[in-house]
């Protein structure tokens, strides 16, 4: 792999940009690999990357039925934060956030991590108490957050209306080192690094069945033929139920549509991320100037990658009340992704009833922020059979009543 650098740009400028390599190699599937990861989104690619980087396992294929990073990795609102209430959540999300800090340098690929700060508005007294509690919990967990007063909210984000008639801003949970990153670049950067380690990133390769012998996985059927493997990692977000069905086990997961939209680009007006969970909308401004907006998920099972229109209306209505100046903005694009929701709104990183088969899913509406930490934990789990970051998120927690309840703690939006 040729390294990207200012020198490389200068060199290529002089020779007409003829010397750039493909970012990742186009590979033909081998008969078998040590490890197959299903799903070349952020989580799948990060799992493969840390298998190679941390554990030296490089005979790995990452299978993707569509194109790289074309699922939820390319459909989210790119928010990165780690201000969760429960200890296991804080551990994995903060690990992830801290890995994002140096990810561009590590991958030699600019993921545009921008720790511009994330604030979650408290607009009811219940929320004030909830976020104060989270701030105290975060202090014990070593996650830098604080509860700030309305005046500070207004100072950090002048376009907010803090005196709304229905839901005035009573304060906010502020995480100064949260922020955003370029979502596509995260997938591309990991894919390039995986390819550089000799791994195969196989796009347009759809898994149609899981083959096993004596309760041990032996490989997967695909539209490009059978591919054998020693271990299998299923990292497919919304389609986790479909893959679990092939592998012969059930999941406590339902897949629903979550939507996002962006406005026309405008001049810089907002340099923090704001989440308003009571009125249910969140917004940040991209480097291109578009206002990036997200809202609530639909309440019913759906695989269409297209959500209900009235949810867009609710989201936009909430944000216009919070940010009156956006009321005349035109929206450019709107899209949906299929998110995999668990009952306690926490992910599953776990062994499965099928030997050699592991699953990483259930990130629901908030997976992007967790990509590096999730890959780190999943890789360790697949190699060692246990991981301090992943063990609390096992499938068995539902049976054993060890919920990691973030549905209450994090409000609704993740």
């Amino acid at each position: 792999m040729k390294r990207y650098s200012a020198f490389a740009i200068a060199r290529e400028a002089l020779r007409g940009h003829t010397g750039w390599d493909r970012a990742w190699a186009r590979a033909e599937p081998k008969a078998a690999y040590d490890v197959i990861i299903v799903g070349a989104g952020g989580h799948g690619l990060a799992t493969a990357y840390y298998l190679g980087r941390n554990h030296g396992i490089r005979n790995v294929a990452i299978l993707e039925k569509g194109w790289l990073g074309g699922g939820n990795t390319g459909r989210n609102t790119t928010i990165i934060r780690s201000n969760y209430l429960q200890d296991p959540s804080a551990a994995i999300y903060e690990k992830s956030r801290s890995l994002y800090e140096t990810l561009s340098q590590e991958l030699n690929y600019n993921v545009m991590f921008s720790p511009r700060g994330v604030m979650m508005l408290a607009q009811t007294h219940h929320e004030v108490r909830g976020y104060q509690r989270t701030a105290h919990a975060n202090a014990l967990q070593g996650v830098a957050t604080e509860f700030i007063a309305p005046a500070k909210v207004k100072e950090l984000c002048p376009i907010i209306n803090i005196d709304g008639p229905r839901y005035p801003v009573l304060g906010a949970l502020w995480q100064p080192r949260g922020g955003t990153a370029r979502h596509d670049a995260v997938a591309w950067g990991y894919a390039r690094a995986c390819s550089d380690m000799g791994m195969h990133v196989l796009q347009k390769t759809e898994v149609t069945g899981v083959r096993s012998e004596n309760g041990q996985v032996t490989g997967v059927e695909t539209n490009r033929g059978f591919i054998g493997c020693g271990k299998l990692g299923i990292v497919v977000a919304g389609h986790s139920g479909v893959l679990a069905d092939m592998a012969g086990f059930r999941l406590p997961i339902e897949s629903v549509a979550l939507q996002a939209l962006v406005s026309e680009p405008i001049k810089p007006c907002m340099d923090v991320v704001v989440m308003a969970n009571t009125v249910h909308g969140y917004m940040s401004q991209s480097d291109k100037g578009e206002m990036v907006i997200g809202g609530g998920a639909d309440g019913y099972n759906n695989y269409t990658q297209r959500g209900s229109f009235h949810h867009i209306e609710e989201t936009v209505r909430a944000l216009i009340e919070t940010f009156p100046m956006i009321s005349r903005l035109k929206m450019l694009r709107q899209w949906g992704g299929i998110v995999d929701m668990t009952g306690d709104r926490s992910p599953i990183i776990s062994k499965t009833p099928l030997g050699g088969c592991f699953i990483n899913c259930g990130w629901g509406t908030g997976g992007f922020k967790a990509i590096p930490g999730s890959g780190w934990a999943m890789a360790e789990l697949m190699v060692k059979g246990a991981s301090p970051l992943a063990d609390d998120f096992s499938l068995g927690r539902f049976r054993e009543g060890r919920f990691i309840d973030e549905s209450v703690a994090a409000g609704v939006a993740h």
Binding site: H239, S240, G241, V242, R250, L251, P252, I253, E254, S255, D298, G299, Y300, N301, N302, Y303, T304, S308, F309, H310, G343, F398, R399
Partner: protein, 109 residues
């Protein structure tokens, strides 16, 4: 927009009038049942890419619960039927079989 006919009041209700209630025909297990059954009832859910049976409530209408048979890929509705049913009625199963050959969903296919 999803439109379901409420089998109680007969209104064609769009989804802003309805509240989704999750998987239909769950068998409730209580004290004394096996851990597998209890875990399955409480947490494990059908999550099909295709035909699905769900509970809905006509929340901003007559207020009654009912069942719906729907495709999660196309949002096609195969029919709705009263909540007081242990299984989908035969005419809805026939319609699904005609539209989605080879479909399966728990014990009903």
């Amino acid at each position: 927009m999803l439109i379901l006919q409420c089998p109680c009041c007969g209104v064609d209700a769009d989804e802003t009038e309805l509240s989704p209630g999750g998987e239909a025909h769950l068998k409730r297990y209580g004290p004394g049942s096996s851990e597998d059954d209890f875990e399955g009832y409480l947490f494990m859910r059908e999550n099909p890419k295709g035909v699905h049976f769900e509970r809905w409530r006509h929340a901003h209408g007559c207020g009654k619960w009912f069942h719906a048979a729907r495709c999660t890929v196309t949002l096609e509705v195969f029919g709705t039927y009263p909540a007081q049913s242990y299984a989908p009625p035969q005419d809805i199963l026939d319609r699904i079989a005609a539209r989605r050959p080879g479909w399966r969903w728990r014990e009903f296919a």
